[in-house]
């Protein structure tokens, strides 16, 4: 399979891509969850990974991070991930953390420094400053001393984004960052992500909120165990691709400039 590329221009063609994924496959027992997925992401791009539930979206993020046994290769700025793991940050789904754990917002963001600091070193003044700066980037610094459990879902999502930023990564992988929050909050988060990509961070996120696709993303990656299509939203979102990705329960209807997707069930 040829490597699909979402290069915004050919000018970067000589530099290694921010993220290069080749023939990434994941098997759970005898089931092939990811089937030889290959793609490249240029530095500063905001990429949405879409697909139905169980299509392997989260598995793709975890395979890129090396959290799940996978075959294939992942290169970060041309080097193996193992040498660059500090440069890649992960933002989990907010329900994936232990909500019994008592912590302030600042405590959580400072945790982003754990891997960077390394063994036997305690977070110091510089780490707390980085944490505050990260919180300011997501407009949450005024809540630094609040208990994380007392925040709304959207605020918690922004705290986890700040924790990832405190790691000072080049690439952020976000698992469903706009799920479980209301539409205005989704807009806030997507604008934050857009701002981050403008500062040169490369972002990949999984989502099943199809109504935001058109104007927020540089590229869409349609996944259903294998890579169905990858490229700018306007090129990717054709009826054939959508049907191959989501199956026939989905109706594609062009409405004014935007493509609106209606689904047969609410789960998407």
């Amino acid at each position: 399979m040829a490597i699909a590329s979402a290069s915004p221009s050919a000018a970067y063609a000589t530099a290694p891509a921010a993220l290069h994924v080749e023939h990434l496959s994941v098997k759970y027992e005898d089931r092939l969850v990811l089937d030889a997925v290959s793609f490249e992401v240029e530095s500063g791009a905001l990429v949405g990974i879409i697909g139905p539930n169980g299509a392997g979206k989260t598995t793709l993020l975890k395979a890129i991070l090396g959290l799940t046994p996978a075959s294939g290769s992942v290169l970060v700025s041309g080097r193996a991930l193992r040498q660059r793991s500090r440069r890649v940050a992960y933002v989990p789904q907010i329900n994936a953390v232990n909500w019994r754990f008592p912590a302030t917002v600042l405590d959580v963001v400072v945790m982003g420094r754990t891997g960077v600091l390394g063994w036997l070193r305690w977070p110091g003044k510089r780490d707390r400053e980085l944490a505050h700066a990260a919180l300011e980037q997501v407009h949450m610094d005024h809540l630094a001393q609040r208990s994380i459990a007392d925040l709304s879902g959207g605020q918690q999502q922004r705290v986890f984004l700040a924790r990832a930023l405190a790691q000072e990564p080049d690439i952020l992988l976000l698992d469903e960052p706009i799920s479980g929050v209301d539409v205005p909050t989704q807009e806030v988060i997507l604008h934050l992500l857009r701002d981050l990509s403008a500062t040169g961070k490369t972002l990949l996120l999984t989502t099943h909120h199809l109504q935001h696709l058109e104007h927020h993303f540089d590229a869409l990656l349609c996944l259903n165990h294998r890579l169905i299509a990858y490229g700018p939203p306007s090129k990717v979102m054709t009826p054939a691709v959508v049907e191959a990705t989501f199956g026939r329960s989905l109706v594609l209807s062009p409405s004014s400039e935007q493509i609106i997707l209606e689904c047969g069930h609410h789960d998407l």
Binding site: L67, A89, G115, W122
Partner: protein, 286 residues
């Protein structure tokens, strides 16, 4: 034991060497259990902790019969059982909690069987099941200090890693931490804490020493470090109250009185907890 006046009542038990040693041992163990307990409660490992205590029983019995250190015998069987649980779950479809249930009851039964081969074993059995901190010798005290100190140093050295793993294991893994190693290390630290505590509070009640301080703290505090601090303070209070209760009420085992002090504090805090909905918070987002 009798006394007159408050000061006299405080001083009288401390005139006896066994009570002095018991108080020091109970305080050290109470504090140690509370530190480990903060991680155990938040990672929901209480059941495994209880199982480890019961599984160490045959080792404790064999060591007691042969005159070795009972903590060492208990540790060997506790760790062996933990490995056995891993072995069973890997080679069969038996779930983790079932494998633990099977093995810990089986090991406990083995301990009772071995002990019952002795004459007059009922008294011995009670001693091991319920603990007797008043029987602590100065040699035991040094073991508690040494092993407990080593555990606390390890927790301190790996604090930020253990904290991240407790709050968000996936992020810990994504940041490059060896979460599997850390998980087994925490289980080992818990197993060692359990066995060096058995002499004071006994096999049946040791889990309360670990779980109750952190459970009480989590009703009130807003930061993880505060759970540890609160737990240590509560551990010291319960140890002291328990030793005095046992000194003044004839025949009350120290394990029972210390754990009762912990339970009373938990219930008290539950009733007067300043945070509205603190009780609900225990179950929220389970």
């Amino acid at each position: 034991m009798t006394c007159s006046g408050v000061w006299n009542c405080i001083v009288v038990p401390l005139q006896f060497g066994p009570t002095q040693r018991a108080l020091i041992a109970a305080i050290l163990i109470g504090a140690l259990c509370a530190v480990i307990g903060a991680f155990v409660v938040l990672q929901e490992l209480s059941f495994i902790g209880d199982a480890l205590a019961h599984a160490s029983f045959p080792g404790v019995v064999i060591a007691a019969l042969l005159g070795f250190n009972i903590a060492l015998g208990g540790a060997i069987f506790g760790v062996a059982t933990a490995l056995g649980v891993g072995w069973i779950t890997r080679r069969s479809k038996v779930s983790l909690d079932t494998a633990i249930g099977v093995l810990f009851a089986g090991m406990f039964a083995l301990g009772i069987f071995l002990l019952s081969l002795q004459q007059n074993y009922i008294k011995e059995l009670f001693g091991l099941l319920l603990g007797d901190v008043l029987a602590v010798q100065s040699g035991d005290l040094w073991i508690i200090c040494g092993v407990g100190g080593a555990i606390l140093l390890l927790v301190l050295a790996l604090y930020k890693e253990l904290v991240l793993m407790t709050f968000d294991p996936t992020a810990a893994q994504a940041q490059g931490l060896p979460t599997g190693v850390l998980h087994y290390l925490l289980l080992c630290l818990m197993a060692v804490t359990v066995v060096i505590s058995i002499q004071s509070v006994g096999i049946v009640l040791v889990v309360a020493m670990i779980v109750t301080p952190a459970a009480t703290a989590s009703l009130v505090v807003r930061r993880f470090a505060s759970i540890i601090v609160w737990g240590v303070v509560q551990g010291i209070i319960a140890a002291t109250a328990g030793i005095y209760m046992s000194a003044y009420i004839d025949g009350v085992p120290t394990g029972s009185s210390i754990v009762l002090a912990h339970t009373a504090m938990f219930l008290l805090v539950l009733l007067v907890s300043p945070r509205p909905g603190a009780l609900g918070g225990l179950f929220r987002r389970a």
